[in-house]
Amino acid sequence: MSFLRITSPHGHGPLTTAQVMQTVLLATLPGVVVLTWFFGPGTLINILFGGAVALACEYASLWLRDREPAPYLSDYSVLVTSTLLCIALPPYAPWWLVTTGILASVILGKHVFGGLGYNPFNPAMVGYVVLLISFPLQMSTWQAPRGLGEVPGLGDSVTALLTPGAYDGVTMATPLDLLRQNKGLLLDDLYAQAPQMVQWAGIGWEWVNIEFQAGGVWVIYGGVFTWHAPVGMLVMLGLCAAAGFDSGSSESGGSPLFHWLSGATMFGAFFIITDPVSGATSNRGRLLFGALVGLLLYLIRVHGNYPDALAFAVLILNFAAPFIDQYTQPVTYGHRPQREDEE
């Protein structure tokens, strides 16, 4: 009889790519729940609608590229892309905004480069930046948090998505907007005057960030990705914020705690820059990659034209990732320089 001849190893570990993606999806849950609590079901509606569009778009792209769709659709990667993009989008975004973002992410961000694994840029951030540059008004309108304005219900959310213009929500500047626009107030006074600002950062935002961090830590604990990039980014962001804090003058860049718990910081640190395909690949490289994202994030937030800057920081560093890889190769076994005392 003839046996099957395949090469070693003959066994395999339990983890599959689909499980990696599912873990990441599941880990966004705490953050999404808190977003929904503070800003209403807009984000949730984005995710569901965006997910459906993304699956259709993935299927169509695979069909155009003459690939068997089933194995690719079942790896959940496109759902991770769409979910991450939709979390980043403002809630109550119109359907065409979500759809344009998804198309840009999936087609421009991924399939034109050859699909999953070949994309040099983070697909979700490609979609986000396309939208941010094309539709700055829609992209910078953010619902006021619970407690400061009426949070829309489910029906309003669907209306906002499907018939743009028919829905009129309460919007409000985010804490990062406030800080950037603040030109005359001491930081303490700004905190005292602006209702959005609370003890650490902004109403809602601090909890959103804490929950995304919790989800991210859970993924790291599960061994799906390493701590290097998030730690690199958060430490660098904290250092920059500490250096630019100047004890809270009107020119202050905000405290480290404010930066850690504002905007897309934790979401970015744990869910965006940990994208392995477009990031640096060795652990040292990831640490450096994260640190540079943290630096750019701070510089653009405080000195740039945009209130938040995660997408730009990530895309710029995606360019640099192959370069970082070249200089952060770990020391291979047997290549350690021999010390004199070693025989």
Binding site: L4, P9, H10, T332
Partner: protein, 513 residues
């Protein structure tokens, strides 16, 4: 207990060691025929000493070592040589090799064997010669001639002997079993090896998932004639890799491209230690070994004492193979063993395990998905390589980057493939890339050589042309000198006159006729 060091990476696959019931040795019996490949080791095949029709006894020499890196072959039992021809052997590429077929007579009639009464007083050279004559090749898997390894002190002094009882591959329990039942022999073998090598230190390394073997080894070490340190360390694959084990035990790394001997260390497998003990104390050549025959497609998995040359078919029969639900026959363990196409190949000196899993146990891998560069492979790599980058460069056939990322330091342990969530057969890419680079190196050597030849030829032709030119010039000068001396003797005028005369003579001749 001495401190041990940790290595980078590593994985914890299901151990499956209890399946083959370590500690009990079963007998595979004498099959009707044995098929003995001449080459069961790394190095030159030995030369035949028998012919078809010869009656041989157990222990009789069948083939003698040819050159330094070679190993002789002995008859594992008595019988008649019935064929000498190429047969399939256990090889990843399913190659054939010259084999001696021995029809066993069932008598198991052996030659008189004689060992050294008092090996302690023998010179290392004498003992190495005996090890060499006993046909011993490393029994852990690579099959390097043991006697050659024992010549290491000729180049530099050795200080440590490591008996590698790690056996980190899942399923395999051959060394575990040997350590349980023949601990004293292993320690004695180690003492002989230490005497030959002139080392101060003997380390007996046992992974902590083998408590029975550890206890047995500790007891044997306590009774030993000299100090043997039994060292144990946490179970992790691939701790038993020679380079990994050295780092675990000593904290030192074997320099790239080097050998353990560069650190003054020699590693040997417990099976090899027992074979050395048998060779020195009894004069017995290596003709059998313990083979773990395991997997859930067997009714009676276990550790079988097997004569070399036993067809794997026979072994599977003894162990109760049920072909239902099995697709693979693996020579070696699940991590580094290679799949055989047919069971019609013999057990050789390096056969530590025959694994016949069911499809549930080790399923046929699904098609590979795209690499998402998750880096789990880099976390698992015991050599601190970046497998995801090597994969990329192997596919791109980018030799410069493969070299820069130290492909040559890959030990092909399979940890990266094991963890890969996209089921990419990474090791296969590295093997292919290594082959490609070896080809390029050979090609470069060939082209350098032919360029050298071409240049040498070119130079020779030029020299010859110059020599001819010089001769011609000398002749011309001589002729001109002669002409200048006697004016009538102008060679050109003389030649024209000769031709004229010849023409006239021819015209006259034709006129006459």
């Amino acid at each position: 207990m001495t401190t041990v060091f940790d290595i980078h990476g590593g994985i914890h696959p299901p151990e499956e060691k209890s399946l083959s019931n370590p500690g009990e040795v079963l007998d595979a019996g004498i099959p009707p025929t044995l098929v003995l490949p001449l080459s069961q080791h790394i190095g030159k095949p030995p030369t035949l000493e028998v012919a078809i029709g010869d009656r041989v006894k157990g222990g009789q020499l069948l083939a003698a070592a040819e050159g330094l890196v070679s190993v002789p072959l002995h008859a594992p039992t008595s019988g008649v040589i019935t064929a000498i021809e190429p047969r399939p052997v256990p090889h990843p590429s399913g190659l054939e090799n010259l084999c001696v077929e021995l029809r066993c007579d069932g008598e198991d009639d052996w030659l008189e064997l004689e060992g050294f009464e008092n090996w302690q007083s023998e010179a290392p050279e004498t003992l190495v010669a005996s090890v060499r004559a006993a046909g011993i090749a490393g029994m852990g898997g690579a099959g390097f001639p043991t006697a050659v390894k024992l010549l290491a002190p000729q180049r530099a002094p050795m200080h440590t002997l490591i008996i590698n009882g790690t056996e980190c591959e899942p399923y395999i329990t051959a060394d575990d079993t040997l350590m349980q039942v023949q601990a004293a022999d292993i320690v004695l073998g180690a003492e002989i090896l230490a005497h030959i090598l002139g080392v101060e230190r003997i380390l007996l390394a046992v992974e902590d998932n083998k408590p029975a073997a550890l206890t047995a080894m500790q007891a044997a070490a306590a009774d030993a004639g000299r100090v043997c340190e039994v060292m144990t360390f946490p179970t992790k694959y691939p701790s038993g890799g020679e380079k990994q084990l050295i780092e675990i035990l000593t904290g030192k790394q074997v320099p790239t491209g080097g050998l353990p001997a560069d650190l003054g260390i020699v590693c040997q497998n417990p099976g090899t230690a027992v074979a050395v003990k048998n060779a020195i104390c009894e004069g017995r050549p290596l003709t059998d070994r313990i083979v773990t025959v395991t997997g859930r497609a067997l009714a009676r998995p276990g550790n079988y004492r097997t004569r070399l040359g036993t067809p794997i078919d026979h072994l599977l029969g003894v162990a109760g193979f049920e072909p239902k639900n099995n697709r693979r026959l693996i020579h070696g363990g699940p991590m580094m063993g290679f799949a055989l196409e047919s069971a019609d190949v013999p057990v050789i000196k390096t056969t530590n395990c025959i694994l016949v899993p069911t499809e549930q146990e080790l399923p046929t891998p699904p098609p590979a998905q795209a690499c998402i560069r998750c880096g789990l492979c880099a976390e698992a790599c015991p050599a601190s390589l970046l497998p995801q980058q090597l994969y990329w460069y192997a596919r791109a056939r980018d030799q410069e980057q493969l070299e820069r990322h130290h492909l040559a330091d890959c030990i092909e342990c399979g940890a990266c493939s094991w963890v890969c969530p996209s089921h990419i057969p990474l090791v296969q890419y590295y093997r292919a890339a290594k082959g490609m680079m070896a080809d390029s190196r050979a090609e470069k050597i060939r082209s350098d050589r032919s360029r050298g030849r071409f240049e040498a030829r070119q130079e020779r032709l030029e020299q010859e042309a110059a020599a001819r030119e010089a001769q011609r010039a000398a002749r011309r000068a001589a002729a001109q000198q002669k002409a200048a001396q006697g004016g009538a003797d102008d060679p050109v005028a003389a030649a024209i006159a000769r031709a004229k005369a010849k023409k006239e003579a021819a015209a006259e001749e034709s006129g006459e006729s």
